[in-house]
């Protein structure tokens, strides 16, 4: 409402404001009236389409027109410390001191946007950023008549050609063509219009021009540029309305508003001016001296020296990193940061302020796991909780509660760091001010209290590739120095604990908190919009544990109660009342009693069956392993989510996870070298298999040498041999793998991990126990190395398995030196491959995400961009929201069943 009143008041106040500003307010006012009926009362809604953006340089006329004052003295403040009229801090250009009022718009600090001033330069000066352009324009035009050095009859043709180039190959091509034309005119020595001889103009960097060895002044340069007719300027790619070349030589200099170069007051009470003010002070001082000397009729040398000095100051004002000039420095010797440096490079306005936004109320540290947290919780160190705050508004009902925080102050937890008065003034709470603040506190105030359990926080890990990379968690304040998260939510964040850091943000308004809770909380993100299954599931130990539990474990009922209580179950009525209970019965306690499910497990039970049956909340048959508990696999979690909702699923996931870990904790779980031991007859079988393979390869080699080998169609004899050998050796390794799988102790923990899908697979086990197998590069056996052989310990032309990277030993048995070497070769190869591919695919994904970022599914299920252009007529061609589907499909059967 307050906003609504403002525009009405301002017109009276701005009577003396410059024309431009007044017009603007009038326009806004008109807009305001038009939009009155709109729902956005008070905010002028501007709904106009941007047709074009024009860039131009300021003409002297415009500079004077937009200026509110003329700066004539380098002094800043008078004896009382007030800004001097006509000085650089003139209050007509805005105010930066509290209490002062801007003389242009009558507004105070923070309300006044600031206005430009100007100074009249005693002598014209070259603008450093246009030095090169000035040179090429003057070189390409006649020094006498100002016309472009193109014969009148060819002029139109040249223009036409440029237009043609532009329509054919775009603006960039036109610019290049213009450059070529200018370059071609360097050799013209006689003006085709007035036949005047053309002098040779050179630029002595940065800003001095010479004509046939004689220096020419900016005055002369400006006169030349003025002579060039408008039509000819267009040939240079400039629009005379926006860019008359003589404007590139400054006769007046705009002085930026005080508000963009505020001075800072040091602790000692001393004022320290902005770098720009310093530089402008230099300019004004020299300019005044130049004026005085000219008026006093000083000798030409003195005037020229001052003129050069003025040129230097103005050049460094624009750019303090011109290669040929010594940078202007502070008294301390550190270079000034002038206009170009403000914009340019990493710490400049663009990359630092516009592209690089920072947030307050955020924290970042290393993360570590804590399975006893709920999935939607985040453990926050106390030290962080005492820095991050939540604003709470005081009212009559909570004043005593909030006073408690103020009483504790910033040093005790839970305390508070600031109170905010109703007028928006912030007051820091310290031990000294504590009492006063407590006294002052009344309804309408805001207390910024420390972070507490249950507060809403947004947790994030970069790279934020999908929406699950930023989820809302509940705070749990705990001791320690790391942020804690449940290991089950590692997957959506793609986090691990080898030193990963994550960020935490605390929403500061009710709206932000509500939005975070409703849209971003972990339970709302359970079902992936990519594949329609749960992105959160059990991992590692949790899977091993549930596998052991549900396979064939039995335990006394008391132990089961103990486990269940530890993981957070308090209702034990569903646990059968008998002396010993089975693991399946313990697991079933977690399931809802009307839940039925039929699925498949990864592992096979004693009868080699993979069937999983849950009936009425009882696990009747089957093993729970990664196929049902893991992320992104199986419909068990999906169906529970469908039937019992997100909050139940989240709670269940946490309990399942803890159940697995707790079972392992009591059952014991360890791996050792003994896990890879094979019985003697199995080892013999492995040896026999490898022996047979070697003989078979020998046979192939013999056949090849005797030219008896049948070639595969389209392959040479050598290729055929290679393929045959590779196939034989791969088969041999697979056979050893099968032998290992068959003989391996099913109770060894390595095998359990592989079977349940918690970590590793049977191939890893076989490589340890029996045979590492063929090392391949680009789908072939290793061929690199010496001439005709891979290593110097082999004969030239040796085609045997060992000579081309077949590792017949297992890791436990130990590798021969050459085998180890071959292993390193492929290891390095794959390392390089991943190291090079990861950033490439990451960038590819980034570009894709950026290109699609504001596509959106409209209510008619079309996918459109921000301009309303249709990208897809039905989202994904089938219009299915994957995050509400089951594995990307609709279960029509179940829907019908449910309806009947």
């Amino acid at each position: 409402m307050a906003d609504e009143e403002q525009p009405k008041e301002t017109p009276e106040e701005v009577q003396e404001a410059p024309v431009v500003a007044a017009q603007q307010t009038k326009q806004e006012d008109a807009q305001e009236k038009k939009e009155k009926s709109d729902i956005y009362v008070g905010l002028p809604v501007i709904s106009k389409k941007v047709k074009a953006i024009e860039f131009s340089i300021l003409s002297p006329k415009l500079i004077k027109k937009m200026a509110v004052c003329k700066v004539v003295t380098p002094e800043l403040y008078d004896k009382e410390g007030y800004p001097v009229d006509g000085g650089l801090m003139d209050t007509r250009m805005g105010v930066i001191d509290p209490g002062l009022v801007c003389r242009t718009d009558g507004r105070k600090l923070k309300d006044c946007p600031g206005y430009f001033g100007y100074i009249e330069l005693a002598r014209p000066v070259v603008h450093i950023k246009f030095a090169g352009l000035i040179l090429s324009i003057i070189k390409a035009s006649c020094s006498e008549c100002g016309r472009v050095l193109i014969p009148a009859n060819k002029f139109d043709a040249a223009k036409k050609k440029l237009d043609q180039v532009e329509s054919e190959s775009g603006l960039a091509a036109r610019r290049k063509a213009i450059k070529d034309i200018i370059a071609s005119m360097k050799t013209v020595s006689k003006c085709p219009h007035c036949k005047a001889k053309q002098p040779n103009l050179t630029l002595e960097k940065p800003t001095t021009y010479f004509e046939d060895e004689k220096r020419i002044s900016p005055i002369e340069l400006r006169a030349r540029l003025e002579k060039i007719p408008d039509e000819d300027i267009e040939l240079f790619g400039l629009s005379p309305r926006h860019f008359r070349p003589e404007w590139a030589i400054l006769t007046v200099l705009p002085i930026p508003p005080v508000t963009m170069r505020p001075s800072i007051t040091l602790e000692s009470g001393e004022r320290s001016e902005d770098d720009l003010t310093h530089k402008l002070g230099d300019i004004v001082r020299i300019n005044q001296r130049l004026f005085e000397n000219i008026n006093a009729g000083a000798p030409e040398i003195i005037i020229e020296d001052l003129w050069d000095l003025l040129q230097y100051h103005i050049t460094t004002y624009f750019d303090n990193a011109v290669p040929q000039l010594p940078p202007a420095r502070h008294r301390s010797g550190q270079p000034l940061k002038t206009l170009t440096e403000r914009i340019k490079s990493k710490d400049g306005r663009i990359r630092h302020n516009l592209a690089g936004k920072r947030t307050n109320f955020s924290a970042r540290t290393v993360v570590s796991p804590d399975p006893m947290l709920a999935l939607n919780e985040v453990g926050v160190p106390k030290v962080i909780a005492m820095k991050l705050t939540v604003p709470e508004r005081v009212n009559t009902w909570n004043i005593e509660y909030l006073k408690g925080f103020v009483k504790n102050g910033p040093a005790a937890y839970p305390g508070s760091n600031y109170i905010v008065r109703p007028d928006g003034r912030k007051k820091r709470i310290t031990d000294e001010t504590k009492e006063a603040s407590l006294e002052e506190l009344q309804p309408g105030y805001i207390v910024e209290r420390h972070l507490m359990d249950g507060d809403v926080a947004i947790f994030n890990r970069q790279p934020s590739l999908h929406r699950m990379s930023m989820m809302c968690h509940r705070v749990r304040v705990m001791p320690g120095m790391t942020l804690r998260l449940n290991p089950a939510v590692c997957h959506p964040y793609n986090a691990d604990f080898d030193g990963d850091e994550m960020n935490l943000h605390i929403p500061q308004t009710e709206e932000a908190r509500a939005e975070a809770e409703i849209l971003m909380e972990v339970q709302t993100q359970l079902i992936s919009p990519r594949y329609g299954l749960s992105v959160i599931g059990c991992v590692q130990d949790a899977i091993s544990g549930n596998y052991i539990l549900t396979r064939n474990l039995e335990m006394p009922r008391n132990d089961a109660l103990d486990i269940l209580y530890t993981i957070g179950v308090t209702d034990f009525s569903r646990l059968p009342k008998k002396e010993r209970v089975s693991g399946k019965e313990v697991f079933s306690v977690l399931l809802p009693d009307d839940f039925s499910f039929v699925g498949e497990s990864k592992a096979r039970d004693e009868n080699r069956s993979r069937e999983v049956i849950i009936r009425e909340g009882k696990l009747i048959k089957g093993i729970m392993d990664r196929a049902n508990l893991g992320e992104g696999s199986g419909l068990l979690l999906r169906n529970i989510h469908q039937k019992y909702g997100k909050d139940f699923t989240l709670d269940l996931l946490g309990k399942l996870f803890r159940l697995g870990i707790e079972v392992l904790f009591r059952h014991g779980f360890t791996v050792g070298i003994a896990d890879t031991d094979l019985p003697e007859d199995a080892a013999a079988e492995v040896r026999k298999t490898l022996d047979e393979a070697r003989q078979k390869v020998n046979l192939f080699i013999d056949e090849y040498k005797n030219n008896k080998l049948d070639t595969f169609p389209g392959k040479t004899l050598e290729e055929t041999l290679e393929l045959r050998i590779l196939e034989t050796l791969n088969n041999a390794r697979n056979e050893t793998g099968a032998i290992v799988a068959e003989y391996a102790n099913p109770h060894s923990f390595t095998k359990i991990m592989a079977d349940s899908g918690a970590r590793g697979n049977l191939l890893n086990l076989a490589q340890m126990a029996a045979c590492v197998g063929q090392q391949a590069m680009r789908g072939k056996r290793i061929e690199k190395g010496y001439k005709g052989r891979t290593l110097s310990c082999f004969r030239k032309g040796d085609l045997m398995p060992a000579a081309h990277g077949f590792i017949k030993n297992g890791f436990k048995g130990g590798l021969e030196p050459w085998e180890f070497f071959f292993g390193s070769v492929t290891g390095r190869d794959s390392l390089m491959d991943t190291a090079l591919r990861t950033p490439k695919s990451g960038y590819l994904y980034r570009r894709l995400a950026n290109a699609m970022q504001d596509l959106k599914v409209e209510y008619d299920s079309t996918v459109r961009d921000s301009g309303g252009t249709i990208i897809q007529f039905s989202y994904g061609e089938d219009g299915i929201d994957v995050s509400r589907s089951e594995k990307g499909m609709l279960n029509v059967k179940r829907i019908i069943q449910a309806a009947l």
Partner: protein
């Protein structure tokens, strides 16, 4: 040339392209509440519509086989830029 066109038309990877009548065109634009320029585009010389004699302003209906939806319909506005 004529022979080549028919070869493309019979290719298994080329979905069916149909030019809409003025009436159908109106209906499509009205159904989606859009202007011609908000449609995905197809160049008037595109090989797939070489035999349809399409002019800028026409709408082409494409009937595709889709891995997710079986068969889907897509529209493209003919353009010459």
């Amino acid at each position: 040339m004529a022979k080549q066109k028919s070869v493309i038309k019979e290719h298994i990877l080329l979905p069916e392209h149909v030019k809409l009548t003025d009436k159908e065109k109106e209906a499509v634009l009205k159904h989606y509440g859009i202007a011609q320029r908000q449609l995905p585009k197809i160049f008037k010389n595109d090989a797939a519509i070489a035999e349809l004699d399409a002019k800028p302003g026409d709408i082409i209906k494409i009937i595709r086989n889709s891995p997710t939806a079986g068969q889907t319909i897509f529209y493209r506005g003919v353009t010459d830029v």
